[in-house]
C-alpha cells in the first residue's frame, strides 16, 4: 500500500505535470503555427479597443449571461472559485504576501470555496443529463466533470475536516513540506501525509488531479488557452 501511496504522490505527479506542460505547449505551438485565416471573422457592430472587448468576452461570458443567466451564475462562480483554489494551492507552497491582502487562513474561503465548486460541477453534470444538452454531449464532457468532482470532493474533504470538524492530525504545514519537496525535486513524504487517518483522501485527491493533468492537453479543457484568441477573432 505504501508503495502505491508513494507512486501516486511522487512519480505520478511528476509524470502528470510533464505530460500537462509538454502536451499543452506542444499542442498550442502546433495550433498557433498554422497559417492565419486570410479574411476577417468578426461580427459587427465593432467596438474598440478590440483587445479589451475580447478580454471582456473571455472572462465575463456576456453571451452566456444574456442567453442562459442561470448557467452564467454557476459558470462565473465556478471559474472564480477555481481561481481561488489555484491561489490556495500556490499558498501551500509558501507564504505570498500578495495573496494575504485580505488576511486569511490557507485555504481561502473556510472550506466553502470547494463546496461551491462541487455544487457548480453537479449542476453542470445534471444539466448534461437533460435534452438538448444531452444530445450535444460526448463521453469526454461527462468524464471531465466527474473527474473534477472527484478531485474537488477529496481535496475539499481535507479542508472541511480541519475547518469544520477540528481534525488536526494533518495540517497545512505537512502539505507545505510535501509540496515544497516536490517542487525542489527532493521529494519527501512527511509521516503525517501518508500515515494519518485522512491520508487516503490526499492520495485520491492527488491521483484524480494527476489524471486530470494528463487528460488536459487532449481535452476540451484546452478552451482555457484558446478562448481569448477565439474571442479576439470574433471582435476583429
Amino acid at each position: 500500500m505504501q508503495s502505491i501511496y508513494y507512486f501516486v504522490l511522487v512519480p505520478m505527479v511528476y509524470i502528470a505535470f510533464s505530460i500537462f506542460a509538454v502536451g499543452t505547449t506542444f499542442r498550442l505551438i502546433n495550433i498557433f503555427r498554422q497559417p492565419k485565416h486570410p479574411t476577417t471573422l468578426q461580427i459587427y457592430p465593432e467596438k474598440t479597443p478590440r483587445w479589451l472587448w475580447a478580454l471582456h468576452d473571455t472572462f465575463l461570458f456576456p453571451t452566456v449571461r444574456r442567453h442562459k443567466p442561470m448557467l452564467w451564475c454557476f459558470l462565473i462562480t465556478f471559474h472564480i472559485c477555481l481561481l481561488l483554489l489555484l491561489i490556495g494551492h500556490i499558498e501551500l507552497l509558501g507564504e505570498f504576501k500578495v495573496f494575504q491582502v485580505i488576511p486569511h487562513q490557507v485555504f481561502i474561503g473556510q472550506g466553502f470555496v470547494g463546496l461551491i465548486v462541487a455544487i457548480c460541477l453537479l449542476y453542470f453534470l445534471f444539466r448534461r443529463f437533460l435534452s438538448p444538452v444531452r444530445e450535444l454531449s460526448v463521453a469526454e464532457d461527462y468524464y471531465l466533470l466527474i473527474l473534477l468532482l472527484l478531485i474537488v470532493i477529496f481535496g475539499s474533504e481535507m479542508d472541511w475536516a480541519r475547518r469544520w470538524y477540528e481534525y488536526g492530525e494533518l495540517d497545512t504545514e505537512d502539505y507545505q513540506a510535501y509540496l515544497w519537496s516536490l517542487l525542489t525535486f527532493r521529494p519527501v513524504l512527511p509521516d503525517n501525509v501518508i500515515y494519518s487517518g485522512h491520508s487516503f483522501m490526499l492520495v485520491l485527491h492527488v491521483f484524480f488531479a494527476n489524471l486530470f493533468l494528463i487528460f488536459f492537453p487532449f481535452s476540451q479543457a484546452m478552451h482555457s488557452f484558446l478562448s481569448l484568441p477565439m474571442n479576439k477573432l470574433r471582435r476583429g
Partner: protein, 417 residues
C-alpha cells in the same frame, strides 16, 4: 467508400485546417448556449439543427483522423469514420445551415459554424455529392469571365433595352448615356445581378446623383461561395477585380446581394479601389445632398430585414436605417438589436436551389415569419436578393400580408427630379 476517395477527402479536410479552423474544432465545450441561436432549431425543434450538433458532425471526423485523442480513445469524443453515411450527415448539416452566423453571437468562444460547414461543403464537392446546380452555375460564371467577347454584344443590347425604364425614374439630358458600360476612368463600378430589377433602380439613382459610373459585365452573385468551393469562389471574384482594375475605378459597388458583398469586401484583399454596398452608396448620396427623396411615395409602416451577410457579418447596419428615415416617418425596428436578427432562412445557397429546398426553407424560417407578423408592417424592405426571394416565399406561405421590397427600388421610386 473506397480508401482512395477517403484519402482524397481527408486531403481536402486538411487543406481547410488553418489556425482559426483548428480553434473552432478544438474548443467547443458543448455547453448548449447556442441551442436557441439557429432559426431552423427555433422553428423546427430538431436537435440536428443546433449549431453545436452540426459542428460536432465535422468535429467527430476531425477527431478520428487528425487528433491523437480520437485515435487512442475513439469513444471519448465519439470520433467517427468518414463513410457514405457520414457524407449524408454532412450534406444535411451543411445544406440546412444558411451561414448566417447568428450562433456565433451566442457562443461564449465565438465558434463560427459557417466556417466549419465550409469543410462539409468542400468534402461534398470532393465526393461529387454537392448540389450540382450550384457547381454548374459557378462554372457558367467562370466561363463568362473567360470569354467576355462572346456575350458582350448581347449584353450591351440587353442593357440598352432597359434605358426606357430607367428614364421613367430619372430623366436625363438628351445624349447622356443612361446605362454606361465599360467606361475607363469611371469613379464607380456597379456590379449588379443578372436581372433588370437589379439594374434599373440602381442606374436611376446613380444618374440622379450625377455619379460617374459604369455597369460591370459580370453578375455579383458568387455561386462558388454558396457551394463552398474556394477555387471557384476566387475565380468568380477575380473577374470583377480585373475589370475594376482595367477600368481604373475608385470604388466597386456591390448590388443588393449579401454573399457577393461579403465575398468582395472581405475576400478581395488589398486593392486600389474601395468596396461598398449599394446601401452604403445610397446613404452617402442622401447625406451629401446628391439625391432627394419624396416621403409621400412610401405609405404604411416599413420594417427592414437586415441581411446576415451585410449586417451582422458585413457591418452595414446604420446606413439602411438612415435611408429609411428619409423615405418614411413610419419606420419600425424588427428587432431591438440587428446583431440578433433572425436569418430569413434562405442563405448559404438554399434559395439558389429553388423548389428543391422550398419546403425546408418555409418550415425552418417560421420564427422569421412570426417576427415579421409581429411588427404588423405593410412593407418589408431588405437589401439582399436571396433574402428578398425567401421573404417573398414566406409572405405567400405564411400569409403575412405585407409587400416585400428592395430598399434600392424604394429609393429609386422616391427620387425627386
Amino acid at each position: 467508400m473506397d480508401d482512395k476517395l477517403r484519402d482524397d477527402l481527408l486531403q481536402l479536410f486538411r487543406s481547410k485546417l488553418n489556425e482559426a479552423m483548428t480553434f473552432y474544432l478544438e474548443t467547443c465545450t458543448r455547453c448548449g448556449v447556442c441551442v436557441e441561436a439557429c432559426h431552423a432549431y427555433a422553428s423546427m425543434g430538431q436537435v440536428r439543427y443546433i449549431a453545436a450538433y452540426r459542428a460536432e458532425i465535422i468535429r467527430r471526423i476531425y477527431k478520428k483522423y487528425f487528433k491523437s485523442q480520437g485515435r487512442a480513445w475513439a469513444s471519448l469524443g465519439e470520433s467517427k469514420e468518414l463513410s457514405e453515411m457520414a457524407l449524408d450527415e454532412l450534406y444535411d448539416a451543411a445544406y440546412s445551415c444558411t451561414g448566417c452566423r447568428r450562433c456565433m453571437v451566442y457562443c461564449p468562444f465565438g465558434i463560427d459554424t459557417q466556417m466549419l460547414m465550409s469543410i462539409a461543403k468542400l468534402l461534398l464537392i470532393g465526393a461529387d455529392a454537392e448540389p450540382e446546380i450550384l457547381t454548374l452555375l459557378a462554372d457558367t460564371s467562370i466561363e463568362k469571365g473567360k470569354s467576355i467577347d462572346l456575350f458582350k454584344e448581347g449584353f450591351m443590347k440587353g442593357v440598352k433595352s432597359l434605358d426606357k425604364k430607367v428614364i421613367e425614374h430619372w430623366q436625363l439630358e438628351a445624349g447622356e448615356t443612361v446605362i454606361p458600360v465599360d467606361v475607363k476612368g469611371a469613379d464607380l463600378l456597379y456590379v449588379a445581378l443578372a436581372g433588370a430589377h437589379s439594374i434599373i433602380p440602381a442606374a436611376a439613382v446613380f444618374n440622379a446623383a450625377g455619379e460617374k459610373w459604369s455597369l460591370s459585365f459580370f453578375e455579383a452573385v458568387n455561386f462558388g461561395a454558396f457551394v463552398g468551393d474556394p477555387i471557384r469562389t476566387k475565380q468568380i471574384l477575380d473577374r470583377i477585380i480585373s475589370e475594376a482594375k482595367r477600368l481604373n475605378v475608385k470604388e466597386v459597388c456591390i448590388c443588393e446581394c449579401g454573399t457577393a458583398y461579403r465575398v468582395m469586401k472581405q475576400l478581395s484583399g488589398r486593392q486600389p479601389f474601395k468596396v461598398s454596398s449599394i446601401t452604403e452608396v445610397h446613404a452617402r448620396y442622401i447625406k451629401e445632398g446628391r439625391i432627394k427623396l419624396d416621403k409621400s411615395k412610401v405609405t404604411g409602416t416599413v420594417v427592414y430585414h437586415d441581411p446576415c451577410q451585410i449586417a451582422r457579418n458585413g457591418g452595414v447596419m446604420d446606413e439602411p436605417r438612415y435611408i429609411l428615415r428619409h423615405l418614411t416617418d413610419n419606420y419600425l425596428e424588427m428587432t431591438p438589436d440587428p446583431t440578433y436578427n433572425w436569418c430569413c432562412g434562405g442563405g448559404g445557397g438554399l434559395v439558389a436551389l429553388g423548389e428543391e429546398t422550398l419546403d425546408f426553407r418555409m418550415k425552418s424560417a417560421r420564427v422569421k415569419a412570426d417576427q415579421v407578423k409581429g411588427t404588423g408592417a405593410a412593407i418589408l424592405s431588405t437589401a439582399c436578393e436571396n433574402c428578398h426571394t425567401q421573404l417573398d416565399n414566406l409572405n405567400d406561405h405564411y400569409k403575412l400580408g405585407c409587400k416585400v421590397r428592395f430598399l434600392s427600388s424604394m429609393v429609386a421610386d422616391a427620387l425627386i427630379q
